[in-house]
Symmetry: D2
Subunit: 359 residues, 4 copies
């Protein structure tokens, strides 16, 4: 079923394979009148691109976004914004040996089962390359939200077994951009970096956790009962490659809490709620409640690694398989702008929709 669109009022449609000529997208429903800052989109793309440092893949991509429509004199016109990003590094011959083999941990077999054939030149649509398209749309959504003082900040909360122990201050989050692992605490960042280097040297990889926070959100966003704000965010997050779980506020640890401790008490002060805690993660009954929005996303380690794997070929024969040369031992830091992007798209869609909640 057509599954390459996300959003209702602000809708992204995505296309393109990792090893084709280009990838791209269409943003439909972008409100008119935004003075679009293309440099900010590009900056966001640069945070996602491979090859940013020694810890990530050495595959080089200059992810330059080209916007083809929907903008006039630098301002959004309300018509669809079509854009593309060239694939500079799509050496598809690299992949010829994969024609008859299903890589473990990859979507090769699943795509074959679904469509009866597959583009074996690489991940194709299942490659994380498609997330660059999300980043473009998310960067535009963020610019609209920032007009209304809604701000989204994400950072790496854990890599492998190393996790931030203390809650991170809102103001400290931007510090995460000062190091390659995107963790706001420098000491923890150093440990994470070492871990990543270590698994890289082993020809292996590691997973991690990203935390995302949103401030300035109006109370009242979300469309119960099925399109609760957290349900939509869960959909958005788990649609990102390698995401294995998502939790809101106190998340999985809520299961062990008592109700008397879990419930966030609050007081209306000056017409606004002041909360004494945030176990709900800023959403109650599926609707933003005026508290900071908080969620975490878990990533599995990437499976394209030099370490030998036993793979099955299409005829059922076993063979050893290894990714040669470059590999990305931890994609989590590069996924930070993707998380922010999907959060922005999801929130903006509900933000625009709120205008029809009341007469």
């Amino acid at each position: 079923m057509a599954g390459n669109s996300f959003g209702t009022l602000f809708k992204l449609t995505s296309f393109g394979e990792s090893h084709g000529e280009l990838i791209g997208g269409v943003i439909d429903g972008c409100p008119a009148g935004l003075n679009l800052d293309v440099a900010r989109i590009q900056a966001k793309l640069d945070r996602r691109k491979p090859g940013q440092s020694g810890i990530s893949s050495e595959r080089k991509e200059e992810d330059l976004v080209r916007i083809h429509s929907g903008i006039f004199d630098g301002i959004t016109t309300g018509t669809p914004i079509g854009f593309t990003i060239l694939n500079k590094d799509n050496r598809s011959k690299d992949y010829a040996h994969l024609k008859d083999v299903y890589r473990p941990g990859h979507a090769d077999y699943a795509y074959q089962a679904k469509y009866g054939l597959r583009d074996y030149r690489g991940g194709g649509r299942s490659s994380a390359r498609e997330t660059a398209v999300r980043v473009v749309a998310g960067a535009i959504a963020e610019q609209i939200l920032s007009v209304f003082n809604i701000e989204i900040r994400a950072f790496v909360q854990g890599v492998g077994k190393i996790s931030l122990e203390k809650e991170v201050d809102w103001e400290s989050i931007p510090d995460s951009e000062n190091n390659t692992v995107r963790c706001p605490d420098l000491k923890t960042a150093e440990k994470m970096k070492k871990l990543i280097e270590s698994v890289r040297n082993e020809g292996d990889s590691t997973g991690g956790v990203i935390e995302c926070r949103i401030r300035g959100l109006f109370a009242g966003l979300g469309s119960p009962v099925f399109d609760k704000l957290n349900a939509l965010l869960a959909h958005a997050m788990v649609s990102i490659n390698a995401v294995k779980g998502v939790e809101f506020g106190s998340g999985f640890s809520s299961a062990a809490m008592k109700g008397s401790r879990y419930r966030d008490e609050f007081r209306i002060e000056g017409g606004e709620p002041k909360y004494s805690s945030n176990n709900s993660g800023g959403i109650t009954g599926g609707i933003s409640n005026g508290n900071e929005l908080v969620f975490r996303v878990a990533f599995n380690p990437v499976t394209s690694i030099p370490k030998l794997a036993k793979a099955s070929n299409t005829s059922g024969e076993s063979q050893s398989l290894s990714v040669q040369g470059r590999h990305d031992p931890c994609v989590v830091p590069r996924a930070v702008p993707v998380i922010e992007a999907m959060a922005a798209i999801t929130v903006l869609d509900q933000f625009l929709a709120r205008r029809s909640d009341k007469i």
Copy 2:
């Protein structure tokens, strides 16, 4: 924004408040030709209803489903199935004192912020009562899936700090129906039961975790990149009241794994994949991969408890608030059929869609 529908080909639309006359739903796109077993729907509803045992709320509801359309001579006709369930126990006067107060942990304030007014007679749409409608639709979806030998089984994996330590065998899952907490291991179930009784006596509540498994699924279900099967399931699960997180396969623990361990090796045998592990939870690249589908859902404790809370009234004044009389110290066991229902609806929708994947 209209958010009370779920699904595309098999679509449920839901309506009704906890304290209105009735709740109901419309299932659009149910395939024709199913010999519908209404008793099986009712049995599923009975597993969800309050008052099943000492550990749950004493509020009594006879949740009798009445089907108004879409069935002829006991067989689905392909036209929409409209159904209702009367609210027998909607004593709305109970709630008069809540008119001017925002209960902590409830959606009172969020609904007020969203719509400018609210139905203060109770949870309204934010009450878990609406999940009875999901159970009806899910029970029908399950009957269709079972024609194709696809089976869904869920159970309580944790209550408070008590969790199942070993992985549960597929065959043992039905044992969970032999005890009130719906945990397949009797010893653990006893501990959970005691914990629940203890928090009830304290006038408090506890959260928990449900695990859900699906067998017999075709490889090839799911619609990347945004409507990945896991993304849709995450959407479905987090749309359920009190769900704070969802994880697939090795879930959050994947973050600490290495890629060499995480990737599930498999071999094609007789045209089918045989997996040596299931960290992916049966989904790769957003598409079912032929392995068992596995996910877990975390619930926060309910916040309607006798224990006093500090609440804010609409004018900002503080007041103490307590739920009098009956309360439900742990809704997790009753949520098991809801998880199954939402899984069934999600999977069936993609199952029907798979028929258009290839020419």
Copy 3:
């Protein structure tokens, strides 16, 4: 495919067969804060119901709408409005002889081909009875639009070969409610009435044309390029039983016009456009242009008539078929509120959406 919902922000989902227990619907996305006038809904339903006069079917239905949710203290709460209408006159035994026959002009064969079975008790979903559900939703939409001074008026423009020759003044349209054929010109109405009586006496039926006008519409409604306001209205209109065509403004006669005559010249006066003509029917480029919205809808004659038809039974044998007793020689007057209802739903949906057009 699930096709029983219409609209995006203001969405109606419909269910129920003509010969079941009841029909009903769910309105999702109705803005909160409307002081709902149920009597006005009922009045609209009464205009649609059979048996209003000698010229329509003698089948009696008291179409009393019951609203089950989404209203609190008489005001819409933003949650879904579920409603039902009992089928009082569903004598299904009347239809036993139709089990093995496909009536010409009816959907019997098409339903059988689509679903492999059919509810032969009557029209089922293909009966015009389902339009009562549309009228309820449309009446609510009209109440919201009227808050913003947007008004919809429809009337019978033609019956058989008798048509209004002059354009009808906006102010004269309500006169159409003073006669049973709903034509604002009394002389023409009389002729139409005679024609209808004549075809009834022959055991036959006749078609007709309805014109619909909308005033007070903001310029700027509609979502090009696919969801142009006229495209959505065409969808809405042709979804009504027995509609064979729809045209906007100068419609089919535009084909014979020259461009110099067709184009509606206008001048901006006081910030508003003043048009010298209305060939566009109030929509340019798929967007309302501030002129009066005008469209016409053609209905075929009903095919359930006493006059003998040659029908084929399911085994291919020919047989003569006749509707006994009562029949409705011209449904066009009763379809007027249905046209208004679908226009209201369509326009309101775009009206609510306009709030996200600009930042």
Copy 4:
């Protein structure tokens, strides 16, 4: 509201302005396994492009489609097909004088009212240029349908006051491609051609009517009650620029028919229905009934003509306006492939969906 997508299972999303760098689209949900014939797509595009002959605009466009994704080794993979067409002839300076004027018959004012600004370089999204994108998607849909022997044929039925008087045989329709006006009857075609030349010489334009027929359709397509096959086709057709009306089968003339004449009698022979007439146009109750599908679409004359118009500028001042040089006196012949394309997309979507109608 995002309105640039059409279809559910086979979904086209469109972008690009007439005077931007390029236009393009994304087809999501194209079934895997189609051996795509790009030359056939191009041939269809060539039938739509301007400058095909003396009777159409002299504006030259080489509408070369470039496909960027979704195809591997010439075969569709099931992933989204992204494509673009360069705008070769987008001389935007031509349009500088239009910055402050609202052209009559154009969407200038409506766009300004909707979005608060507009791209005045030309029609932008309201230009018929966007229909080239539809033709690409439609050409792909037609190739899939032709695998199942479903064929779509359209032709010009009327230009100005000149219309075909006799019904056209299915076999004769391809003759329409032998003349520039795309009318299958050579004599009528000659008259039409003369009329078009005459209005061109006057600096004026004319409208016309296209008829479309579909053969080989399964009985059973369409999704009542709102997504009836005719309702979806009406939506698709009226979404095309300059379409003022659509009618099915006997269409507007049905209004004057009696039911006894209107109803199409049929007999089941060899399991298939044999109809004695086709007033229904091949659709009963919103579902294809096995008869040939027939509908007609009316186009208004284009309003970009040399003949002087009185236009209002944005400040309300009146001015005379004329299109200099080239103009297209009748776009109807070029619209034939657009009608076919939208018919193909609409029918294919329901064709794919039919697979979920029954268990």
